[in-house]
Every structure is written in C-alpha cells, then in structure tokens.
Amino acid sequence: MFLSLAPTLTFAASLLFISVANTQQTPAAQTTPVVAPTVAPTTAQTTQNKSTADATVWKIDDTHSMGLFRVQHSGAGMFWGRFDGVTGIITTSGIPTGTLALDVSIDTNSVSSANKDLDGHLRSPDFFSVKEFPTMTFVSTSSKKLPGNMWEVSGNLTMHGVTKLITTNVEMTGQAESPRGKKIGFEAVFIIDRSEFGMSYGVEKNAIGNSVRITVALEAGSS
C-alpha cells in the first residue's frame, strides 16, 4: 500500500516545497535592500519641489543625453561602454543658487560597446540581465549647492535589482535659450563597486574590474 502511495506522496511533497519556495522567492526577487534613506525618494523630492515656488521642471532629451561607463579589463586597459536610453525629469529651483532634483531612468537594453558579441554578453545575466532588470534608475533625495556650477546630490541608485544610496557632485554644464525652448545641461561622474549591486562576473578572477566609473551627461528642455 505504502509503495503504491509513494509516488503520490513524493509529488505532493514536491508541490509543497515549491509553494514554500515560491512564497519566499517572489518577495525576495522584488525586495531591494535599500541601505538608506528610509524616506521614499519621490516623497522627499515632492517635498523639496513644493517648498520652492520657482521650481522649473526639465524633461531629459534622450537624443542628447547618455550614460558612459569605464571599467578595467584584464587588469590592464580601460573598457568603455555607453547607454543611450536616458530619460527622466530634472527639477531646478533658483538656478544657479537653488536646489536640484534628479529622477533619471536608463534603459539597460540600450547598452552598447560597439561590439555586437560584447553587447550580447553585457545584456545577459552575467552583467545587466536586461530581461530581468530592464531599467536602472537614480532618484535624488537631497541636494546641496556648492561653489560655482556644482551641486552635491544624494539619491538612490537602483541597478540590477539593488538600491544603494550614493552621493555625487553634479555640474551644470550650460544653460541656453534656443528656438526650441530653454535648454539646460548637467554632468555627473561617480564611481561604484559593481559587486555591491550583485554584478560580480569576472571580479574574483580579476578579468573585469570591480570599480566602475560612471559618467552621466544630461541635456533637458523646460516643459
């Protein structure tokens, strides 16, 4: 009797295991271990915007904006890649002395290295896993005006399913009035350890460096 029931019991046990595993799996896959802050970025940003009467909202021009990254290959040369799908909103108040808020999204599928084989590898789960994580985002939570055209901006960078608080200097590269309306440009350069974002392929074997220098160049128009 027991022998004939064994396969059924095995099947039932495996289904039970799966239901438990999937229960744990789904939240885990969606949970992003945010280091800080505890306040939701959008709330902070909204508060910041509301407090300033002369806030200007700028829409990022995806044609003239880009993200660039630089990482060491084989412990020798520097490898460069770029992202083209940069979109989002920049909110300024009282330029050049006021606050700055950034809400930037990058389409990870737009990664390009000018080499088709390498692009396929960069999109795979070895690196950006674009099917699982189609965007990376930066949402600022606070900004501090520095001398000149510089701001110190803190915010949450979400990449590869992990969110980390980073702080970077942002430079306003220019502001102009064109026939197509007002334009403004910003550039930020910062360095991250990609393994902190769960992107560790080739790190232990020193094939591809852990430290990645990211440059984000933005051009936006007032909407």
């Binding site: 027991f2 396969p7 999937n22 084989s74 795979s124 896993s129 099917k131 769960g198 560790s200 074997k205």
Partner: protein, 285 residues
C-alpha cells in the same frame, strides 16, 4: 582566468559529481542503483553554477540560479521516488513529479506563467521517458559519450548568446559524463552498466530542456527558437541507434547513438552560428 574557470567551474564540480555517481553505482544494491546517478549529475551542475555566482545573493539578484536549484530538487524527487516506485505507472508519475516540480521552481523570464511551466515540465518528462527507454537497453560507454555530446548543444548556445554563467555548468555536466565514460573504460565493471538509469535520464533530459529554456528566456541576441528546441531534445539522438536496420548490429548501433546526439547538438549550434554571422554581415554593410 581560463584556468580558474576550467578548474572551479568545470573540472572540480565534474570530478565531485563523477566520484559521487560512481560510488553509488558500485554499491551492491542492484535495482536501487539508478536512483542516485541523477543526483550526482545535478550536484555537478549545482556546484559549477555556485562557483560562478554567490549562493548568498542568488535569492535577491540572480533568478537564473533557480535552474541548478530546480535540477537538484528534481533529482532528489526522482531519486527518492524511484526508491519506492515499482510499477511503470508509478515510475512515470515520479518522472512527472520531478520535471513539473523543477519547471515550476524555474521562474525565469518567459517561463513564469504556470501554463508555460507545465508545458516545459511535461515536455521534459516526455523527453526523459523516451530517453530512459534507450538508456535502459543500452547502458554502455557509447551512451555516456552520446549524452555527453548532446549537452554540448545547450552549453554552446548559451555561450553564443553571451550567457557564460549558464554555459559553464551545463558544460561541467557534459564533462562529468565524459569522465564516467573514461571510468567505464578503465574499470569495466558490470555494475556500471546500469549507471545512467532512469534518474540519470530524467536529469539529463531536464538539464537539456531546462538549460535551453533558461538560455532562451534570457537571450537578447534573438537566436532562432529552432536552435534552442533542437538543443533541448539533443539527448533523444540516442534513438538513431534504435532504427530497425541498425539496432541489431552492436557496433553500428553504438556509433549511431553517438552520431545521433552529435548531429542534433551540431545542428543547433550551426543554426545559431549562421544566424549570428548573417546578422554581423548585415550590420557591417
């Protein structure tokens, strides 16, 4: 770097898996031997995958690692189930339980939907049952070599699609089967003649099918689906040795089994390679 990948990604896991499998095969428990070979192969896959990625981080970050986990679960289910299942119906149910449970656990892009998972699980079970028919009759060195060659298909496709972390563990299982073949030559033990068994057939068919499904799910190079499908069924190339005019001739049948698997794996790779080269050509124009 390549040496480290070969050592920790392929050689070490496959030696552990082969030693594990051979140890079970040599135990004098006739009739129960084939319960554990699948577990040995799944362990190889698991160890190799873990050498490529961190187990601690996989829950949050790397969903693809559900592939080796699901194969390990499938191997445990089929191994445990076969200890008790006696009748053909009961064994079929065990195979279904193993592949469907593994498919549900897979949870990767394109395969999160239950109907897709069910389709994948039943497909893998069908492939495993067909594979087991030949493995049961022809448990000898040619079977190991053929199965080893068949897994090169999904491994190389994963590599061509840029997914090295998937290619290496599947390659390790292929390597493990090759080592078992070598041990078979060296030892010439009768107990090794039942080595692959039903559990081995289930795990090999599942690794081919689920490995191809995982590669397809994450593929951003848009390799033709036909290449993934052929890679998924490559182990069934063993049936070439069962053609009526061949099966009675021992040597010819053995070569036909090897060629059958090799042809299917090579066809899958060729379709993918031609697709990639034609795409490169059009871009350069």
């Amino acid at each position: 770097m390549e040496m480290q990948i070969l050592l920790f990604g392929i050689a070490l896991p496959s030696f552990v898996g082969a030693a594990f499998g051979i140890w079970f095969m040599r135990r004098k428990q006739a009739g129960r031997l084939d319960c554990f070979v699948g577990l040995a192969l799944a362990t190889t896959l698991f160890l190799s995958a873990m050498s490529e990625d961190s187990l601690i981080q996989f829950m949050a970050l790397n969903r693809w690692l559900w592939f080796p986990i699901s194969m390990l679960l499938g191997a445990v289910v089929v191994g445990a189930g076969l200890l008790f299942a006696q009748s053909p119906l009961a064994r079929t149910l065990v195979v279904l339980a193993s592949t469907i449970s593994a498919a549900i656990l897979l949870n990767i892009p394109s395969w999160e939907i239950f109907t897709n998972q069910l389709f994948l699980g039943v497909g893998a079970a069908t492939s495993a049952i067909f594979l087991a028919q030949v493995v049961k009759k022809r448990a000898n060195i040619s079977t190991y070599i053929a199965l080893s060659l068949s897994l090169i298909g999904p491994s190389v496709l994963a590599m061509l699609s840029g997914f090295a972390k998937l290619a290496i563990p599947i390659g390790a299982v292929s390597f493990c089967l090759g080592i078992i073949a070598l041990v078979h030559i060296a030892i010439q033990s009768k107990s090794l003649d039942r080595a692959v068994g039903l559990s081995g057939a289930v795990v090999i068919a599942s690794i081919a099918a689920f490995g191809a499904a995982t590669g397809f799910g994450y593929d951003t190079t848009n390799l033709p689906i036909s290449s993934w499908v052929i890679a998924a069924i490559a182990p069934l190339g063993l049936w070439l040795g069962e053609l009526p005019m061949i099966r009675s001739r021992t040597t010819l049948s053995a070569w036909a089994r090897i060629c059958g698997c090799a042809i299917l794996a090579a066809t899958a790779i060729l379709i993918a390679a031609l697709f990639l080269s034609s795409n490169s050509h059009s871009l350069s124009e």
